[in-house]
Homo-oligomer: 660 residues x 2
């Protein structure tokens, strides 16, 4: 029985074609679909009971799933791409994530050919398990502030790894605490008493025989994290070294080398490669944002169609909450954002491939722009997604607070994305710095890529919006120009303010908040522009492009309303024009409404992956919530453990003699 079938009939576009548009291609769709179903149909990957497990059981359960997944990968001879999708759909942070996602790439990126030949086969067969040990108890974003030392001992041709202070303890690395046998450890290289920068070192942590920590190594789990299951399935770790010796050839030496004699050599490998890796990692984070947000939106949208509240006439059923404008105005912009982030991540992927090709040809000119743009989009999309998941939870009313809604876990497991791989505020400041530089160089350097609009800054500073009706806003040129004008004017104004400071760094510190706002306006422009560019492409399927157009305008006009202060303050819009945009937005919500369920069905998520009773495909929410309640351990018996000891004495007025 499909309780949402009426909703599905309302939509006016081809859902199967939209699934392909969302996935990127028919091949991507099929691949993802195959892996999703493989996981969903395998009882080992069941995840409903996860939040009820104690920490030890929880981790053990994850170990079992990881082993089972690895067995499937081997038995079914899955490709690396297929394995990646499989792990994604298992949907549980595990030590293997960091092994594949950070340890191996670190060796691939920073190891010499010899090192790769030695370590990669071991790692890729999982004969060793590795993690990425960078952050320390007292040091996060600032890599140059790390305290762990790697001191070269010429006598023995070894590095001595050491944790000189408590705050130098490695802290946070996933997989470090209980599972990893090896780590890439970042430490201050000391040769001949001199500091030579922070470098990566491959260090064995545990015996390959009995898994016990090696001498001189103190390693453990850092304790519970946010959420019932969430990242508690991962053994984020603490690590201290007490003068641990490793051979010289375990320093990752692709860029810098230390010779037997203690000489530091630099290879001709460009250091910019490290930015290439950052661009890669951050574009995957943007793709993950669209995935996480779309899951939350799928749950909230389906449940908003199931749930009814108020507005009953003549004893008939109450109104579906999705029909309330207040619900639509919070939900539909998030739905639109999920699509917007999906398309901008698709574009970012192509940007990364372009950068990679150029780097291989020693061409670095586009790198700063690509770096700024990826950093900014990482910040923008993860912030919006974290907030959006919680908003979706609130949109589900009280029931969103139940773990069985799936939303608390989704929130708890997602929010670290705002902090890892660059704190979101720190990243926006980097973007701002780049934008200010771009403005200051306008006279003699042509801005490229996503900053190309800055080349038209004179015109953008003068022209004001020509929109005169609500319909006038349904025009890509009008919308994009508004966002370009806002971003350009804010950047120029901030650059002028900065110029008033004698010391530029002082100005930068003082105006940091305004600079972040400038960066945000620039990044929002990128997302809006890339969505419109996507709509220029051929997107097959009845009604697909039209539905996406509506979402694109929802995304843009929602932002315009939310930040109308910027648009008005810069003088590009009049209050009347801002108000027309808001009126158009209301109309757009009505256009989204009949397609809402089909638009979330197009994500093609299995009920297993969603992990939410509220978001069930069939809308059969209440009977399943009711059933699920009885699974709680508290319901094992009618009378609860502790009643006779701690409650009966109260009821019987015998508390004075009770043993508490």
């Amino acid at each position: 029985m499909d309780y949402l079938s009426d909703e599905r009939k309302k939509s006016d576009f081809d859902v199967e074609a939209m699934k392909v548009a969302w996935a990127g291609s028919i091949q991507e769709f099929q691949l993802s679909d195959r892996m999703a179903k493989l996981v969903a149909n395998d009882p080992v990957f069941e995840k409903f009971t996860r939040p009820m497990l104690g920490r030890k059981e929880l981790l053990k359960n994850t170990l079992r799933k990881s082993a089972h997944a690895w067995k499937l990968i081997i038995d079914l001879r899955l490709s690396e791409e297929e394995a990646k999708w499989l792990r994604l759909y298992v949907d549980e942070p595990a030590y293997t994530d960091l092994h594949w996602g950070m340890f191996i790439p670190a060796i691939e990126g920073q190891g010499t050919e010899e090192q790769k030949k030695k370590w990669l086969p071991l790692a890729k067969k999982m004969q060793i398990i590795g993690c990425y040990a960078q952050t320390e108890l007292g040091h996060g974003s600032n890599v140059q502030g790390l305290e762990t030392t790697a001191t070269f001992d010429t006598r023995t041709d070894e590095f001595i790894m050491h944790s000189p202070t408590l705050t130098s303890s490695k802290w946070w690395p996933g997989g470090l605490g209980k599972l990893s046998t090896h780590a890439v450890v970042y430490a201050r290289l000391i040769v001949g008493g001199q500091f030579h920068g922070v470098h990566g070192f491959i260090v064995q942590l545990r015996s390959l025989e009995d898994h016990s920590p090696l001498p001189g190594i103190t390693v453990g789990d850092i304790g519970l994290k946010f959420g019932n299951g969430a990242y508690n399935t991962m053994d984020n770790g603490v690590l201290r070294f007490d003068h641990v010796r490793i051979p010289r050839n375990q320093m990752l030496m692709r860029v810098s080398q230390v010779t037997k004699e203690g000489k530091i050599m630099q290879s001709d490998v460009p250091r910019q490669l490290i930015y290439g890796t950052m661009v890669y990692v951050r574009q995957t984070i943007v793709a993950d944002a669209s995935k996480a947000l779309s899951r939350a939106v799928c749950i909230a949208t389906r449940y908003s169609a199931v749930r009814r509240q108020f507005g009953s006439r003549d004893g008939g059923p109450e109104t579906q909450v999705i029909d309330y404008k207040t619900q639509q105005s919070r939900l539909f912009p998030l739905l639109a954002s999920a699509y917007a982030f999906r398309f901008v991540s698709e574009w970012l992927k192509s940007l990364y491939l372009d950068v990679k090709q150029r780097l291989e040809a020693n061409e670095f000119s586009t790198l700063p722009e690509a770096h700024a743009c990826t950093a900014g989009l990482k910040s923008l999309t993860t912030t919006a997604t974290a907030d959006g998941i919680e908003e979706c939870r609130k949109l589900c009313g009280g029931h969103g607070y139940l773990v069985s809604s799936g939303l608390p876990e989704l929130f708890a497991v997602y929010i670290p994305a705002c902090t890892y791989e660059g704190d979101n505020v720190v990243l926006m400041l980097q973007v701002a710095r780049f934008l200010v530089k771009t403005v200051s160089e306008l006279g003699h350097k042509k801005p490229v890529g996503t900053t190309a609009y800055m080349g038209r800054v004179a015109s953008l500073m003068q022209k004001n919006s020509a929109v005169q009706t609500a319909e006038g806003w349904l025009n890509p040129g009008a919308v994009v120009e508004a966002f370009e004008s806002r971003a350009a004017r804010m950047a120029v104004r901030c650059a002028q303010e900065l110029a008033k400071f004698g010391n530029p760094e002082e100005g930068f510190a003082e105006l940091a908040v305004d600079l972040v706002e400038v960066a945000v306006s620039h990044c929002q422009l990128i997302v809006v522009t890339k969505f419109f560019e996507k709509l220029q492409q051929d997107i097959p399927g009845k009604g697909v492009k039209e539905s996406l157009e509506v979402l694109c305008y929802v995304y843009a006009l929602f932002l315009l309303h939310k930040h109308q202060g910027d648009f008005l303050a810069t003088g590009y819009l009049t209050p009347k024009q801002a108000s027309l945009a808001n009126a158009q937005l209301r109309t757009l919500y009505s256009k989204v409404r009949p397609n809402a369920i089909a638009l979330v069905d197009s994500f093609s998520y299995t009920d297993h992956y969603l992990g939410s009773i509220l978001g069930r495909y069939d809308g059969n929410v209440y009977p399943k919530l009711y059933e699920a309640a009885w699974e709680d351990p508290l319901n094992d018996s009618d009378v609860i453990d502790g009643f006779h000891q701690y409650v009966q004495p109260i009821l019987k007025q015998r508390l004075h003699s009770a043993k508490l």
Copy 2:
């Protein structure tokens, strides 16, 4: 060793006097302080291990604490006021909360004298345990939509309590699942086949002998909720009736009565009393908001002073993150909000006492305004607090994600406040409806209380801001007028838009989003105004009032900047004036900075109550984080349970023969 002593020396006001200002009076301060210390020094109330417990153990632990607290209350002959503070500092949702907070007040408010005489002594001695069973699986905010029935049977002089559908199952009531022996159940009264509204009934659920559920009653816990401990210490419950009979005199009959013959009678007790209760409950929620937000702010502020990142010069220590403007611009407005909410809750309490007096004299004229204002402030402050706690967590960087930071638990336990006692959006729509009505009646009815400014609407629509310098914003008149103008203009404009609709309800539905914005602007005005009014009072202590003045301007100008779109769109401010406000805000942050630690010390929270390693009074964060890590059960052994079964076979390439 006090690692924050330098910070404490920087402040320029009398912290002890500020503690009194925060508490409300010296008596309140002493009472609260005494109870806080009583709890903090009692090992039974230890809460560090709480998040590591499984559900059953967790609840059992709570039962123990509740019994111990009740024993203390009896042994020490604590007053009701003292008992309330004690339970607050135990800081753990428990079944007793609903017994004291909802069950007893429901009987007090809706019971007849006879009913009160029978039930209150039992309840107050805890010979019975009660809860408040209103919401159902399919029905939340809309009380009139409840499905549970109470059908009067004249033959036996009984009501038959019944759950006719699955969605009519009572769902959510705290304390219902495993502990309560009784409940006040809200049900549709059916007499002679006719529906006579929703009423409350006292129903016994469990045997007073062996605590087993009575015949016809299905009762249990609804399962896990958000967070590691949080509300999982509470047995929120599900309840179904299968034709359960209760005597007629267990209907709460203060307002409506059913006679033996099945006649419905109305007493002369004014129905407005129910709004009086709502005003009471919601003003306590506003007070709780200031408490929760101030805890989060205290943690984030102290840790921001401890934590250093970047900006080291010549190998010296890195910069304290509290010195970054980006950190200040997120943290200090929350600090100011905590104070603002504290003072507005103090005022709300006096408003409630006034309303109560008037109700007792059958004077209802101020009730609608008091009701709207409390509903709006509940919505405004709980939304800001929920978001603010998560913002504080982000402000602590990665370590905020650790449960030992205290912030994940604080968030998880707080967020239901946005949903219970009126969904925040639904409440704002009620406020908006009241404001629109106020505007429409301006010709013939003088607006009272917090809407009095509407009486000056003509002038507020015309006058524009006269501020010409950044210093010009340091003027209560200028700030309040800006907020009044914005609120009045938005309300009038929205009323005009509404008037264009033939059907007012249709207009209300279509413009709901704009109406919510109107309500928000009105509520922000109230908080700003009450803060300035507080500053008119005598506040003793060196520098106390001056520090609060700075916070008041921070709160107001932060809102002004955040919502500058409103101020500009309504034409009251020019972009230049908005920009001057923003410049003044930056200056104010610098004034807050030296007082920041002292301002959070003034909340006078014990380390026990804060429950956060990051927020420790002595700032000794890193050694304590390191120590705490080893308490995780995963660290019980060097090699983890599950390693030999699920990891060793991978490392040894023997996965094919492993039993997973």
